[in-house]
Amino acid sequence: MDADCVLLLPGVCQVLLDSGRSLPDDTTLEKLLDWLTGITEADKEGSLLEVHPCLLEFISFVVCKTSSDPSVISFTLKLCGLMGATEDGFKRLQESSVLDLAFSRQHWHEAGLWEDPCIRIGWIQGLRSMLLHSKALSFFVQADLTAQLLQLQTDTSLFVASAANQMLAHILLFFQPVMSAGCNTIGKKHWEDKRTQASIIGPGVTMDTSEDYDAVLAVTSKYLQESLVPKENTQFHQSLQTLKLLGLLLAQARPPLRDQLLQTAADPLEEVVTAGCSQLTLPLMDVVLAAYSSSTGEGVPDQHVARLLSSMLTMSKPADLIQAAAALLSRGHPDSVHAAQAVRILLLPLDLITGQALLGTNTAADKHRFSMVDQLKSKTSCISMICVCLTNTPQISLMPADLLPCPSASIVTAVLSLLRICSGDSSSSPAGCPEVFRNVISSGKVQKSALEALTGLSSSPGVKGMLIEVLAVLIEYLNHPDSDPIVLHKSYQAVVQWLSVCVDLSFTTDKLQQDLVEVVKKRVCDMRWEVRDSTVEFLGKLAGVLVSAKVAPDTSEVLLGGCCSASLLREALQDPESYVRASAISALAQTLAHSWQQGAAPTQQQTDIVSRLLEILSQDTEGFARRAVVQYFIAWFSSRSSSTSRSPSTSTCSTSPLLMNSVSTVLSLGSADLDWEVKVHTLELAELLLDEAFLGHRGYRKGSDTHLALPHPYAVVSDQTCTLHTHNRKRTEGMDSDLAIRLKTLVEQGVFSVLLSGLVDCDRPVSLKACQLLIKFRETVCPVSIEAPEETVAEVSCELPGWGWGQDISKTLGMTMSDQAKVADIAANGAHVFDSEDCKENVNKGGDSVCVRVCEVLRSLGLDAKLDILIQSSDHVHNSPLSLLQDILTAGAAHSHPDTQPGQEVIVDCY
């Protein structure tokens, strides 16, 4: 524990004792407990109670003085359990007579606090933390807490009931005995693993533990036996909870425990299965599957369990049956017989509605056929069952052929028929069930599920030949006037997915292509922005799919409608909704990627697009569109670089002045943007320029430098940048000689200014990225290891504006250099000013601007120290334990000396 925290801890305990209501906010106690848990876990040997006696005093006091705030009592119970997790701590707590009182339900009941769910949660979680050693188990058994815990299993609070279940499962699993002969090794290993995980438990299982364990098991088993079967309607909750407990136990129980549990629960389970309580189907299936998989783990499945599983798959209510079958597939099919049975059950609704004979002609085996038809006639159950069925079709279609009653193509046909029925066309389903049709017609839920299923089915074996049929239905959906935006979105996703799998476009017909183009043209003008956005995104994704699949350009153009795609996207740049504008920009980048990669000279159309994009970057009020513009140029620049590396002959075309001029403008606009992500993307573009200028030069490392900060989990990383970083361009000779020229070019392009302005930005991701790039820059042109850079390099200068970031940089330079006693060199405005031809003109014009040498700036900014700070989070100081303790103390002080004016009370309201 930090020394400062040690000093503050007694004070904090005092504040908590005085009044819990003065706490900074409702997260404080949880955060405090997180911190203490962390310390306990890190320091396995010592006992916190010994080192910090204030904790024991605090616990004793709160436990005795029941007048504390319930949240503080709850925290104390959790803390008490945490402290008792080590045998030393447990002993101390027992010596202080704290444990009996803390975990006495009677005590809290008498104090009128037991009704508060936070006390019950504290009680359970405290016990849960403590029960990691045999002494704690003995305490638990002696205090007769098992029955009380079982009672809490049906608590009115979901949280309490769930915690009680978890706790019971923990005891029985954690202390479960090791299997004797045969499985001994595995058992021991597992037990040791558990001990290692817990790491703070004392000696292992003793004879005493075994007795205690048996006592807990006996009470729990009796409870399981009595409460599994609901006796009245009102007891569903108890059965449900008991099933959940049994599920938790069976999932991890090893043979002796598992066998005992199964023996105890077998008959009641059978009774529950027979009773067919719909509310219990899923947890029941969980239990049966857990039992089944644990028994098959031993080799031969338990016959009794296998029978139960079979019973589950022959339940009388179709809705339950479907749920059970779906649960079986989603949790991994245990054996081929049951899996095949589940598949038949799941395909039955689809078979019945569409009449596609998915289950073959011999349907006598499906004894649920009639009851299923009956259920399908009810709208609610029809929709729910067909959706479960559809959700599972992609998984079913990928199963081994011998488990399937029909080829995957038939499933696709059935889903297509269903989609047609949903949109009111039942002509393709003459054998279908007309009485059910009305339930699914126009049902958005079924349409969405069916479209998702269709998307998933694209990768099924033997379905590629169905592309035409699939596209026809999807285009129909895209054309349908009543389709809602989500249905359209999912239709687009399905088209892209099918086209990405079936890249051979000869599968499609001219008419289909024409229809697709027409519908896209229509939808891109839809009134709803959601639809326009999905359409524009679709165009981009389609271009991406076709490019990545290396489809011949003319084919892709046909599918995209030739230049129609680009012109539609250009139109979309004017869209009133910023999301659509941003999607259009990204889609344009994907559409033009092919021509960029070819290194073709920009067309007039592309030139127009560039002007429009620069206009968006400078004027658009929304960040999304501006971010997309910078990413567009990143993509273009990257493609150009990659094409140069592949084919040097095209480099002349690709280094078009249009791109280079645009890049300079993007750098200057992007670095002055108000949106932090635009700025980060601008820095990524600057990084590409750095890469290009310095690649091959000694000391220059591309990509993330290992000695620099690890990438932030949410750091904006451009795909294109990553791609570029993987290229191996070979430029080796003669790099040093023209370093100064390249440095000068970078300064002229504005790269250096972008980096400097980013460095002093108020948003951390921006300054972090800029700092990393500047260090890379410095290590290339004037590494700290070299005393002085080459003269030509050292002479290169840049201009610092006399306002904004320029001022901030000047200040930083001034401070650093004065620290180095170079005061004499510093001009009045804080920068190292000198007369340079490079920026003399600008300086004269600008008045306040100053010229500084790039190398000097790079060496004087204190970049390494700044990076150390930046790689910390923005809240690392204020989210520290010390900050938390200080906040508690301050809030406590404010509470005890209220000198605030009336109306100044800070009320937790909203944000």
Partner: protein, 592 residues
């Protein structure tokens, strides 16, 4: 007896992470999906695992309704829809749908600034989630499915905030979200029909407070800003992108105009334009005054408020700056605060609540020495003021709403337990209704009085009338009195299955054709006889006339003797008898 269940997963005896599950008439509805800004891990989001057995929220929930754009009500939405995978309908009003992503982006930025963040959504996820939202109009009944309908009412509080009336059959619940019963500078007061819901779920932030008039708070605010400006100080007001910032801008703009003040007012990160855009777009959601004056002057086109540039912070002289984020977590507001903190002439006004760990929280608690990065210490000399401008109903307002809606039961959420306890007592005393205040995870179960459908014979009805007894009015709900409702609804409410009564009859017919041909002949015959009836020849070998099914089989002894099996429901009893009589007469010759 039918029940309505209310379970808060968040906002049960606390504020932050509002998320309330309502089960009504077999439908499960989630109300709000907020985040708790005080946590950096999964605890900031509601834990949905408690309510689903198989992890598929879409199977369990019928719809999700978001009351307004504050993050404690919508912050977990992209998490729920894009990460947990909820794919069902999401409802919110048009302004909420438009503004929600801005606030979510705002918070994403703060999160990116932090380290070790996990499980947070991306920009794309925010967009994908918003595309799934179905916008609501005020007072428009939206049919979620055949049984569930919802209707939004104006809630004040922030632009686009709505209360929602949820109805399944004759049972209903009203959820208020956050609301305000008094109009403010830019918004009107909440209003609802006398809809007499079974349960009114109301926020209770200011459950024990009778708030001083907003005018007083505004006067106080302006006085403090003015004093600071007069002594040459700078005033920083940390705000979130949209919401109370706009209200304060109107306030300052009007004051500057009136007092002819010259000190500049700045608003950071281009939000004035954005706010302007949304307030213009949703002018109907603002209050009457703004709507009236809009034609002459748009209140949101500010003359005195200019866009801020970071270099302005160093300018000499007084100024007022609105900067994000609102709790001084990071970014521009924190940068300006660091620059100005050392001067006692300056002032920071915190217009809302700040979570623990933020600089905003520390200075509000009176900390004057703040440890900054690199062990540097910042001396806070500037004046720190807290002025809550959040617009919630106070105790008086909550009582007023109860009077308006006349609920049968009350559930209090979004408030502190002690305060709720006080208000609960008051409500129970004044309105003689049950009031509940469940903690998170606790379920309130309310038994409702279902409408029982009764088919009554005309004679009985006449006799009842003769005795002068009151006849049930289907539009007017009565407790403990029989009501007229549809039989479907009655079956649903009573949890009963409908039984179909069908009549069958066999008719023998001489027809020397194959079975399918005979059936086709029957079809043709009936088509010619029964004009205007729906007659279908189905692929499964049957002919259907309305609900009457006709099947053909040959007699075992004589293939020319056909046995027709007719079956019909009791609704088509007359038609069934007619057909059996008709077919007994045989088929006319000449039929093909």
């Amino acid at each position: 007896m039918p029940e309505i269940k209310v379970t808060p997963l968040g906002a049960g005896q606390d504020v932050g992470r509002s998320c309330i599950l309502v089960s009504i008439g077999g439908k499960n509805i989630m109300l709000d999906c907020g985040m708790h800004m005080g946590y950096n891990d999964d605890r900031r989001f509601p834990d949905f695992s408690y309510i689903t057995q198989n992890g598929r929220l879409t199977d369990f929930l019928d719809c999700l309704i978001i009351s307004h754009f504050h993050l404690d009500h919508c912050g977990a939405l992209p998490y729920m829809s894009e990460m947990v995978g909820y794919d069902g309908p999401i409802y919110m009003t048009h302004p909420t749908k438009a503004i929600c992503p801005i606030l979510l982006e705002d918070f994403r930025k703060i999160t990116v600034d932090k380290k070790g963040e996990t499980n947070f959504f991306t920009s794309q996820m925010i967009k994908d989630c918003m595309k799934k939202v179905i916008p609501l109009n005020l007072h428009q009944t939206v049919q979620v499915d055949d049984e569930l309908e919802i209707k939004a009412y104006y809630a004040g509080h922030v632009l686009g905030a709505a209360m929602v009336h949820i109805k399944v059959g004759s049972e209903s619940v009203v959820y208020t979200g956050d609301y305000n019963m008094t109009p403010d500078r830019h918004l009107g007061a909440a209003w609802i029909d006398k809809c007499r819901p079974d349960i009114l779920i109301s926020e209770s932030t200011y459950a024990t407070t009778i708030r001083d008039s907003k005018r007083c708070r505004e006067r106080d605010f302006l006085k403090k800003v003015h004093e600071s400006i007069e002594r040459g100080g700078k005033v920083l007001i940390p705000v979130f992108a949209l919401g109370r910032a706009q209200e304060l801008c109107i306030l300052l703009e009007t004051f500057w105009e009136r007092m002819n003040l010259k000190a500049p007012i700045y608003f950071s990160t281009g939000l004035t334009e954005k706010a302007n855009h949304y307030y213009k777009l949703f002018i109907t959601w603002t209050n009457q005054k703004i709507r009236k004056t809009f034609v002459q002057r748009n209140m949101f086109e500010f003359k005195h408020i200019k866009a801020f540039d970071r270099s302005y912070a160093d300018n000499p002289g007084p100024m007022v700056v609105f900067a994000t984020p609102g709790m001084l977590h990071a970014g521009q507001s924190l940068q300006i605060f660091k620059k100005w903190a050392g001067n006692e002439k300056n002032m920071v006004i915190m217009p809302g609540y700040c979570v623990q760990g933020t600089i905003g929280h520390k200075i509000l608690n009176g900390q004057r020495k703040l440890e900054m990065e690199g062990r540097a210490t910042l001396d806070v000399k500037l004046q720190v003021e807290y002025m809550s401008f959040s617009a919630h109903a106070d105790a008086k307002g909550i009582m007023q709403l109860i009077r308006m809606a006349e609920p049968r039961n009350m559930v209090l959420v979004h408030g502190e337990a002690v305060k709720m306890e006080f208000l609960k007592g008051k409500i129970e005393q004044e309105f003689s209704i049950d009031c509940y205040m469940p903690a998170n995870g606790e379920t309130v179960t309310v038994t409702t009085n279902p409408s029982v459908p009764v088919d009554i014979s005309l004679n009985l009805l006449k006799r009842e009338m003769a005795l002068g007894g009151p006849l049930p009015d289907p539009k007017k709900p009565h407790d403990q009195i029989l009501k007229l409702v549809s039989s479907e609804q009655a079956l649903k409410e009573l949890g009963l299955n409908e039984h179909q009564l069908r009549f069958t009859c066999r008719v023998q017919l001489q027809d020397p054709h194959s079975d399918p041909d005979t059936l086709h002949r029957i079809y043709t015959h009936l088509k010619s006889v029964l004009k205007g009836y729906t007659i279908q020849h189905l692929p499964d070998g049957t002919v259907m006339v309305e609900s009457i099914v006709i099947k053909v089989s040959s007699s075992a002894e004589d293939p020319n003797t056909k046995v027709l099996l007719l079956s019909w429901s009791y609704q088509d009893e007359d038609l069934g008898s007619f057909l059996s009589t008709l077919l007994k007469k045989g088929l006319p010759s000449g039929l093909c």
